[in-house]
Amino acid sequence: MNAPDRYERFVVPEGTKKVSYERDTKIVNAASFTIEREDHTIGNIVRMQLHRDPNVLFAGYKLPHPLQYKIIVRIHTTSQSSPTQAYTQAINDLDKELEYLKQAFEDEKTRYEERAKQGF
Protein backbone atom coordinates (compact mmCIF):
# COMPACT_ATOMS: atom_id res chain seq x y z
CA MET A 1 0.00 0.00 0.00
CA ASN A 2 1.28 3.49 0.68
CA ALA A 3 3.21 2.74 3.86
CA PRO A 4 6.65 4.35 3.80
CA ASP A 5 9.58 1.94 3.80
CA ARG A 6 10.78 1.10 7.28
CA TYR A 7 14.37 1.94 6.47
CA GLU A 8 13.40 5.54 5.74
CA ARG A 9 13.85 6.06 9.45
CA PHE A 10 17.61 5.63 9.33
CA VAL A 11 18.82 5.72 5.74
CA VAL A 12 19.68 9.18 4.45
CA PRO A 13 17.87 9.67 1.13
CA GLU A 14 20.02 9.98 -1.95
CA GLY A 15 21.00 13.54 -2.80
CA THR A 16 20.54 14.73 0.78
CA LYS A 17 23.39 15.72 3.05
CA LYS A 18 23.69 14.07 6.47
CA VAL A 19 24.53 17.41 8.07
CA SER A 20 23.66 20.76 6.59
CA TYR A 21 24.57 24.07 8.06
CA GLU A 22 22.79 27.38 7.91
CA ARG A 23 24.09 30.61 9.42
CA ASP A 24 21.73 32.93 11.19
CA THR A 25 21.23 36.09 9.14
CA LYS A 26 20.49 38.37 12.09
CA ILE A 27 22.91 37.23 14.80
CA VAL A 28 26.65 36.82 14.38
CA ASN A 29 28.15 33.50 15.44
CA ALA A 30 24.81 31.74 15.45
CA ALA A 31 23.87 28.85 13.23
CA SER A 32 21.54 25.89 12.84
CA PHE A 33 22.72 22.42 11.91
CA THR A 34 20.17 20.11 10.38
CA ILE A 35 21.14 16.51 10.96
CA GLU A 36 19.26 13.98 8.87
CA ARG A 37 18.16 10.64 10.26
CA GLU A 38 19.23 11.28 13.84
CA ASP A 39 17.24 11.67 17.03
CA HIS A 40 17.58 12.37 20.76
CA THR A 41 20.48 9.92 21.06
CA ILE A 42 22.80 12.23 19.14
CA GLY A 43 20.94 15.50 19.75
CA ASN A 44 21.07 15.36 23.51
CA ILE A 45 24.71 14.30 23.90
CA VAL A 46 25.85 16.98 21.46
CA ARG A 47 23.79 19.61 23.24
CA MET A 48 25.11 18.67 26.68
CA GLN A 49 28.69 18.58 25.43
CA LEU A 50 28.26 22.05 23.88
CA HIS A 51 27.07 23.32 27.24
CA ARG A 52 30.46 22.44 28.69
CA ASP A 53 32.13 24.89 26.33
CA PRO A 54 32.21 28.39 27.88
CA ASN A 55 32.39 29.95 24.43
CA VAL A 56 28.96 28.55 23.64
CA LEU A 57 26.28 31.05 24.64
CA PHE A 58 23.40 28.90 23.51
CA ALA A 59 23.04 25.31 22.41
CA GLY A 60 19.79 23.49 21.88
CA TYR A 61 18.29 20.84 19.69
CA LYS A 62 14.83 19.95 18.57
CA LEU A 63 13.11 17.08 16.86
CA PRO A 64 10.63 19.12 14.81
CA HIS A 65 8.21 16.27 14.13
CA PRO A 66 8.23 12.59 15.11
CA LEU A 67 7.68 11.53 11.51
CA GLN A 68 10.39 13.77 10.06
CA TYR A 69 13.53 11.85 10.86
CA LYS A 70 15.84 14.78 11.48
CA ILE A 71 17.00 17.04 14.28
CA ILE A 72 18.01 20.67 14.32
CA VAL A 73 20.88 21.76 16.53
CA ARG A 74 21.17 25.49 17.14
CA ILE A 75 24.41 26.98 18.41
CA HIS A 76 25.30 30.53 19.37
CA THR A 77 28.88 31.27 20.39
CA THR A 78 31.04 34.18 21.45
CA SER A 79 33.31 35.86 18.93
CA GLN A 80 36.23 33.76 20.22
CA SER A 81 34.69 30.73 18.63
CA SER A 82 32.24 29.84 15.88
CA PRO A 83 29.29 27.44 15.69
CA THR A 84 31.16 25.09 13.35
CA GLN A 85 34.22 25.10 15.57
CA ALA A 86 32.19 24.46 18.72
CA TYR A 87 30.21 21.72 16.98
CA THR A 88 33.30 19.96 15.70
CA GLN A 89 34.99 20.28 19.08
CA ALA A 90 31.95 18.81 20.86
CA ILE A 91 31.94 15.80 18.57
CA ASN A 92 35.68 15.30 18.99
CA ASP A 93 35.34 15.44 22.78
CA LEU A 94 32.43 13.00 22.81
CA ASP A 95 34.31 10.64 20.54
CA LYS A 96 37.36 10.75 22.80
CA GLU A 97 35.17 10.24 25.86
CA LEU A 98 33.62 7.13 24.33
CA GLU A 99 37.01 5.84 23.26
CA TYR A 100 38.17 6.29 26.84
CA LEU A 101 35.01 4.63 28.15
CA LYS A 102 35.55 1.62 25.92
CA GLN A 103 39.08 1.20 27.20
CA ALA A 104 37.83 1.67 30.77
CA PHE A 105 35.32 -1.11 30.22
CA GLU A 106 37.91 -3.49 28.83
CA ASP A 107 40.24 -2.79 31.75
CA GLU A 108 37.45 -3.16 34.27
CA LYS A 109 36.42 -6.48 32.75
CA THR A 110 39.92 -7.90 33.28
CA ARG A 111 39.91 -6.55 36.84
CA TYR A 112 36.44 -8.02 37.42
CA GLU A 113 37.53 -11.43 36.21
CA GLU A 114 40.59 -11.15 38.44
CA ARG A 115 38.36 -10.35 41.42
CA ALA A 116 36.01 -13.20 40.52
CA LYS A 117 38.94 -15.61 40.42
CA GLN A 118 40.01 -14.56 43.88
CA GLY A 119 36.56 -15.41 45.06
CA PHE A 120 34.82 -12.13 45.70
Binding site: N55, T84, Q85, L101, Y112
Partner: protein, 327 residues
Protein backbone atom coordinates in the same frame (compact mmCIF):
# COMPACT_ATOMS: atom_id res chain seq x y z
CA UNK B 1 34.78 38.19 30.45
CA UNK B 2 37.68 35.80 30.49
CA UNK B 3 37.03 32.85 28.27
CA UNK B 4 39.51 30.23 27.18
CA UNK B 5 40.52 30.26 23.56
CA UNK B 6 38.33 28.25 21.27
CA UNK B 7 39.58 24.77 20.53
CA UNK B 8 40.13 23.77 24.15
CA UNK B 9 38.96 20.28 25.06
CA UNK B 10 36.15 19.66 27.49
CA UNK B 11 36.43 15.90 27.42
CA UNK B 12 35.39 13.82 30.39
CA UNK B 13 36.98 10.63 31.67
CA UNK B 14 34.24 8.32 32.86
CA UNK B 15 34.95 5.55 35.34
CA UNK B 16 33.36 2.11 35.31
CA UNK B 17 32.96 -0.57 37.96
CA UNK B 18 31.40 -3.89 37.05
CA UNK B 19 29.39 -5.43 39.86
CA UNK B 20 28.14 -8.48 38.10
CA UNK B 21 28.79 -9.90 34.67
CA UNK B 22 27.18 -13.00 33.28
CA UNK B 23 26.51 -14.08 29.70
CA UNK B 24 23.13 -12.42 29.46
CA UNK B 25 23.24 -10.03 32.41
CA UNK B 26 25.41 -7.15 33.55
CA UNK B 27 25.23 -4.67 36.39
CA UNK B 28 27.73 -1.85 36.50
CA UNK B 29 28.37 1.61 37.85
CA UNK B 30 29.16 4.45 35.48
CA UNK B 31 30.65 7.59 37.04
CA UNK B 32 32.03 10.98 36.05
CA UNK B 33 29.76 11.52 33.09
CA UNK B 34 26.26 12.91 32.69
CA UNK B 35 22.77 11.62 32.06
CA UNK B 36 22.95 12.40 28.34
CA UNK B 37 25.74 9.87 27.81
CA UNK B 38 24.06 7.29 30.05
CA UNK B 39 20.80 7.72 28.16
CA UNK B 40 22.49 7.65 24.76
CA UNK B 41 24.13 4.36 25.68
CA UNK B 42 20.82 2.95 26.86
CA UNK B 43 19.02 4.07 23.71
CA UNK B 44 21.73 2.64 21.45
CA UNK B 45 21.75 -0.69 23.30
CA UNK B 46 18.00 -1.03 22.83
CA UNK B 47 17.53 0.27 19.31
CA UNK B 48 20.77 0.42 17.36
CA UNK B 49 23.05 -2.48 18.16
CA UNK B 50 22.66 -4.89 15.23
CA UNK B 51 21.67 -8.52 15.48
CA UNK B 52 20.50 -11.17 13.04
CA UNK B 53 16.85 -12.21 12.86
CA UNK B 54 14.63 -14.04 10.40
CA UNK B 55 13.22 -11.48 7.98
CA UNK B 56 11.98 -13.38 4.97
CA UNK B 57 10.04 -16.64 5.02
CA UNK B 58 9.05 -18.76 2.04
CA UNK B 59 6.48 -21.30 3.07
CA UNK B 60 6.33 -24.49 1.05
CA UNK B 61 3.74 -26.42 2.99
CA UNK B 62 1.73 -25.23 5.93
CA UNK B 63 -1.17 -27.31 7.07
CA UNK B 64 -0.85 -26.24 10.70
CA UNK B 65 -3.55 -24.33 12.54
CA UNK B 66 -1.56 -21.08 12.34
CA UNK B 67 -1.58 -19.09 9.13
CA UNK B 68 1.59 -18.35 7.15
CA UNK B 69 2.15 -14.80 8.33
CA UNK B 70 1.54 -15.77 11.96
CA UNK B 71 4.32 -18.35 11.68
CA UNK B 72 6.59 -15.94 9.81
CA UNK B 73 6.14 -13.42 12.62
CA UNK B 74 6.90 -16.01 15.29
CA UNK B 75 10.05 -17.05 13.43
CA UNK B 76 11.20 -13.46 13.29
CA UNK B 77 11.02 -13.11 17.06
CA UNK B 78 13.36 -16.06 17.75
CA UNK B 79 16.70 -14.70 18.99
CA UNK B 80 19.61 -15.91 16.87
CA UNK B 81 23.26 -15.89 17.93
CA UNK B 82 24.58 -12.65 16.48
CA UNK B 83 28.20 -12.34 17.59
CA UNK B 84 29.13 -11.85 13.94
CA UNK B 85 26.42 -9.24 13.24
CA UNK B 86 28.74 -6.25 13.69
CA UNK B 87 30.90 -7.52 10.81
CA UNK B 88 27.97 -8.43 8.58
CA UNK B 89 26.45 -6.18 5.94
CA UNK B 90 22.93 -4.84 5.85
CA UNK B 91 21.33 -6.55 2.89
CA UNK B 92 20.15 -3.19 1.54
CA UNK B 93 23.76 -2.08 0.99
CA UNK B 94 25.26 -5.40 0.07
CA UNK B 95 27.03 -5.34 -3.30
CA UNK B 96 27.42 -9.08 -3.61
CA UNK B 97 23.71 -9.74 -4.10
CA UNK B 98 20.65 -7.97 -5.43
CA UNK B 99 19.29 -7.48 -1.96
CA UNK B 100 17.27 -10.68 -2.09
CA UNK B 101 19.31 -11.70 0.92
CA UNK B 102 20.84 -14.84 -0.43
CA UNK B 103 24.56 -14.21 -0.10
CA UNK B 104 26.94 -15.12 2.69
CA UNK B 105 27.83 -11.49 3.55
CA UNK B 106 24.38 -10.33 4.46
CA UNK B 107 22.13 -13.28 5.13
CA UNK B 108 21.82 -16.77 6.56
CA UNK B 109 19.45 -19.39 5.27
CA UNK B 110 17.35 -21.59 7.54
CA UNK B 111 15.33 -24.63 6.66
CA UNK B 112 12.54 -26.13 8.67
CA UNK B 113 10.72 -29.31 7.90
CA UNK B 114 8.37 -31.02 10.30
CA UNK B 115 5.53 -33.46 9.92
CA UNK B 116 3.48 -35.11 12.62
CA UNK B 117 3.26 -38.73 11.66
CA UNK B 118 2.73 -41.41 14.24
CA UNK B 119 0.95 -41.51 17.58
CA UNK B 120 -1.83 -39.39 18.93
CA UNK B 121 0.58 -36.93 20.46
CA UNK B 122 0.86 -33.43 19.06
CA UNK B 123 4.25 -32.60 17.64
CA UNK B 124 5.83 -29.47 19.01
CA UNK B 125 7.81 -27.61 16.38
CA UNK B 126 10.44 -25.51 18.15
CA UNK B 127 13.39 -23.32 17.30
CA UNK B 128 15.51 -26.45 17.62
CA UNK B 129 13.97 -27.76 14.40
CA UNK B 130 15.48 -24.88 12.43
CA UNK B 131 18.50 -25.95 10.40
CA UNK B 132 20.97 -23.15 9.82
CA UNK B 133 23.24 -22.89 6.81
CA UNK B 134 25.84 -21.08 8.93
CA UNK B 135 26.90 -22.64 12.24
CA UNK B 136 27.75 -19.17 13.63
CA UNK B 137 24.09 -18.14 13.40
CA UNK B 138 21.54 -20.38 15.05
CA UNK B 139 18.73 -20.10 17.61
CA UNK B 140 20.22 -19.21 20.99
CA UNK B 141 19.00 -22.28 22.84
CA UNK B 142 20.50 -24.52 20.19
CA UNK B 143 23.80 -22.77 20.75
CA UNK B 144 23.48 -23.12 24.50
CA UNK B 145 22.63 -26.82 24.28
CA UNK B 146 25.68 -27.29 22.11
CA UNK B 147 27.88 -25.41 24.58
CA UNK B 148 26.61 -27.46 27.47
CA UNK B 149 27.18 -30.68 25.58
CA UNK B 150 30.75 -29.57 24.99
CA UNK B 151 31.39 -28.62 28.60
CA UNK B 152 29.41 -31.62 29.88
CA UNK B 153 27.90 -29.41 32.53
CA UNK B 154 26.68 -31.20 35.61
CA UNK B 155 23.88 -28.86 36.47
CA UNK B 156 22.05 -28.96 33.17
CA UNK B 157 18.46 -29.93 33.25
CA UNK B 158 18.10 -31.44 29.84
CA UNK B 159 14.33 -31.21 29.98
CA UNK B 160 14.54 -27.43 29.95
CA UNK B 161 16.34 -27.20 26.63
CA UNK B 162 13.33 -27.70 24.42
CA UNK B 163 13.66 -24.54 22.42
CA UNK B 164 11.14 -21.83 21.68
CA UNK B 165 7.80 -23.22 20.56
CA UNK B 166 6.78 -22.16 17.06
CA UNK B 167 3.65 -24.23 16.42
CA UNK B 168 2.04 -27.50 17.49
CA UNK B 169 1.14 -30.02 14.81
CA UNK B 170 -1.59 -32.62 14.95
CA UNK B 171 -1.21 -35.96 13.22
CA UNK B 172 -1.03 -35.46 9.49
CA UNK B 173 -0.20 -31.77 9.63
CA UNK B 174 3.00 -30.53 8.09
CA UNK B 175 5.19 -27.45 8.06
CA UNK B 176 7.97 -26.93 5.56
CA UNK B 177 9.64 -23.61 4.91
CA UNK B 178 12.76 -21.71 4.00
CA UNK B 179 13.70 -18.63 5.98
CA UNK B 180 16.28 -15.94 5.42
CA UNK B 181 17.81 -14.21 8.43
CA UNK B 182 19.23 -10.74 7.93
CA UNK B 183 21.13 -8.18 9.91
CA UNK B 184 19.02 -5.37 11.31
CA UNK B 185 18.57 -2.96 14.21
CA UNK B 186 15.86 -2.55 16.82
CA UNK B 187 14.84 0.81 15.38
CA UNK B 188 13.61 -1.02 12.30
CA UNK B 189 11.78 -3.78 14.15
CA UNK B 190 11.97 -4.85 17.79
CA UNK B 191 12.87 -8.41 16.75
CA UNK B 192 16.37 -7.12 16.04
CA UNK B 193 16.81 -5.63 19.49
CA UNK B 194 19.46 -7.53 21.46
CA UNK B 195 18.28 -5.98 24.72
CA UNK B 196 15.70 -7.53 26.98
CA UNK B 197 15.98 -4.69 29.47
CA UNK B 198 18.44 -1.85 29.80
CA UNK B 199 17.87 0.54 32.66
CA UNK B 200 19.90 3.01 34.64
CA UNK B 201 19.25 4.88 37.87
CA UNK B 202 20.93 7.75 39.59
CA UNK B 203 22.90 6.63 42.59
CA UNK B 204 21.16 8.04 45.67
CA UNK B 205 23.07 9.92 48.36
CA UNK B 206 21.24 9.42 51.65
CA UNK B 207 22.21 11.41 54.74
CA UNK B 208 20.47 10.85 58.05
CA UNK B 209 20.50 13.77 60.47
CA UNK B 210 21.79 11.82 63.48
CA UNK B 211 21.14 14.63 65.92
CA UNK B 212 17.48 14.79 64.96
CA UNK B 213 17.24 11.01 64.82
CA UNK B 214 18.37 10.79 68.46
CA UNK B 215 15.32 12.81 69.49
CA UNK B 216 13.01 10.06 68.21
CA UNK B 217 11.62 7.35 70.45
CA UNK B 218 12.12 3.72 69.49
CA UNK B 219 8.52 3.42 68.30
CA UNK B 220 8.85 6.55 66.21
CA UNK B 221 12.07 5.24 64.68
CA UNK B 222 10.40 1.94 63.91
CA UNK B 223 7.39 3.52 62.24
CA UNK B 224 9.65 5.85 60.27
CA UNK B 225 11.84 2.99 59.03
CA UNK B 226 8.70 1.06 58.08
CA UNK B 227 7.25 4.01 56.17
CA UNK B 228 9.64 3.32 53.31
CA UNK B 229 7.96 1.07 50.72
CA UNK B 230 11.32 -0.55 49.94
CA UNK B 231 13.79 -1.68 52.57
CA UNK B 232 16.24 1.19 52.59
CA UNK B 233 16.78 1.74 56.31
CA UNK B 234 17.53 -0.63 59.14
CA UNK B 235 16.78 -0.23 62.83
CA UNK B 236 19.27 -2.10 64.94
CA UNK B 237 17.29 -3.80 67.73
CA UNK B 238 20.21 -3.64 70.17
CA UNK B 239 21.86 -0.25 69.60
CA UNK B 240 18.52 1.31 68.50
CA UNK B 241 20.40 3.09 65.74
CA UNK B 242 18.87 3.77 62.33
CA UNK B 243 21.27 3.06 59.48
CA UNK B 244 21.04 2.97 55.69
CA UNK B 245 21.15 -0.71 54.76
CA UNK B 246 20.44 -0.51 51.03
CA UNK B 247 20.59 2.96 49.49
CA UNK B 248 19.88 1.63 46.00
CA UNK B 249 16.56 0.16 47.06
CA UNK B 250 15.33 3.74 47.33
CA UNK B 251 12.92 4.52 44.51
CA UNK B 252 12.84 8.31 44.92
CA UNK B 253 9.32 8.00 46.30
CA UNK B 254 9.79 10.69 49.01
CA UNK B 255 7.74 8.60 51.47
CA UNK B 256 10.31 8.79 54.28
CA UNK B 257 10.63 12.55 53.78
CA UNK B 258 6.86 13.02 53.98
CA UNK B 259 6.76 10.75 57.02
CA UNK B 260 9.46 12.79 58.76
CA UNK B 261 7.49 15.97 58.06
CA UNK B 262 4.29 14.38 59.35
CA UNK B 263 6.15 13.45 62.52
CA UNK B 264 7.19 17.05 62.94
CA UNK B 265 10.83 16.32 62.15
CA UNK B 266 11.53 17.90 58.77
CA UNK B 267 15.12 17.41 57.67
CA UNK B 268 15.45 14.07 59.41
CA UNK B 269 16.89 12.68 56.23
CA UNK B 270 18.31 14.31 53.15
CA UNK B 271 18.26 12.38 49.89
CA UNK B 272 19.87 13.55 46.68
CA UNK B 273 20.48 11.88 43.36
CA UNK B 274 24.16 12.01 42.39
CA UNK B 275 23.94 13.58 38.96
CA UNK B 276 27.13 12.06 37.62
CA UNK B 277 26.79 8.54 38.90
CA UNK B 278 24.63 5.81 37.36
CA UNK B 279 23.85 2.20 38.06
CA UNK B 280 23.10 0.25 34.90
CA UNK B 281 21.29 -3.04 34.58
CA UNK B 282 21.62 -4.75 31.21
CA UNK B 283 19.90 -7.96 30.17
CA UNK B 284 20.16 -9.43 26.71
CA UNK B 285 17.98 -11.82 24.75
CA UNK B 286 20.98 -14.10 24.34
CA UNK B 287 21.67 -12.97 20.78
CA UNK B 288 24.91 -11.43 22.04
CA UNK B 289 26.45 -11.41 25.52
CA UNK B 290 25.82 -8.47 27.83
CA UNK B 291 29.47 -7.46 27.55
CA UNK B 292 29.30 -7.55 23.76
CA UNK B 293 26.13 -5.47 23.91
CA UNK B 294 27.84 -2.75 25.94
CA UNK B 295 30.97 -2.72 23.78
CA UNK B 296 28.97 -2.75 20.54
CA UNK B 297 26.80 0.08 21.84
CA UNK B 298 29.89 2.23 22.40
CA UNK B 299 31.19 1.34 18.95
CA UNK B 300 27.86 2.11 17.29
CA UNK B 301 27.55 5.42 19.14
CA UNK B 302 31.04 6.39 17.97
CA UNK B 303 30.12 5.49 14.40
CA UNK B 304 27.02 7.65 14.68
CA UNK B 305 29.06 10.57 15.98
CA UNK B 306 31.53 10.10 13.17
CA UNK B 307 28.69 10.24 10.65
CA UNK B 308 27.48 13.61 11.92
CA UNK B 309 30.85 15.34 11.57
CA UNK B 310 30.84 18.33 9.28
CA UNK B 311 32.18 17.45 5.87
CA UNK B 312 34.84 19.71 4.41
CA UNK B 313 32.58 20.80 1.59
CA UNK B 314 29.87 22.33 3.74
CA UNK B 315 30.32 23.96 7.14
CA UNK B 316 33.94 25.02 7.18
CA UNK B 317 33.90 26.48 3.71
CA UNK B 318 30.71 28.35 4.44
CA UNK B 319 32.40 29.92 7.42
CA UNK B 320 35.51 30.69 5.41
CA UNK B 321 33.41 32.27 2.68
CA UNK B 322 31.77 34.43 5.29
CA UNK B 323 35.17 35.65 6.49
CA UNK B 324 36.44 36.35 3.00
CA UNK B 325 33.62 38.20 1.45
CA UNK B 326 30.73 37.98 3.85
CA UNK B 327 28.05 40.66 4.15
Amino acid sequence: MDRPAAGASYQRFPRVRIRELRDDYAKFELRDTDASIANALRRVMIAEVPTVAIDLVEIEVNSSVLNDEFIAHRLGLIPLTSAAAMQMRFSRDCDACDGDGSCEYCSVEFLLSARATDSDQTLEVTANDLRSADPKVCPVDQARAYQQALNADYDTNAGEQRGILIVKLRRGQELRLRAIARKGIGKDHAKWSPAATVTFMYEPDIRINEELMDTLTLDEKRSWVESSPTKVFHLDPITKQVTVCDAEAYTYDDEVIKKAEAMGKPGLVEINAKEDSFIFTVETTGAITAYELIMNAITVLRQKLDAVRLQDDDGDLGELGAHLGGP
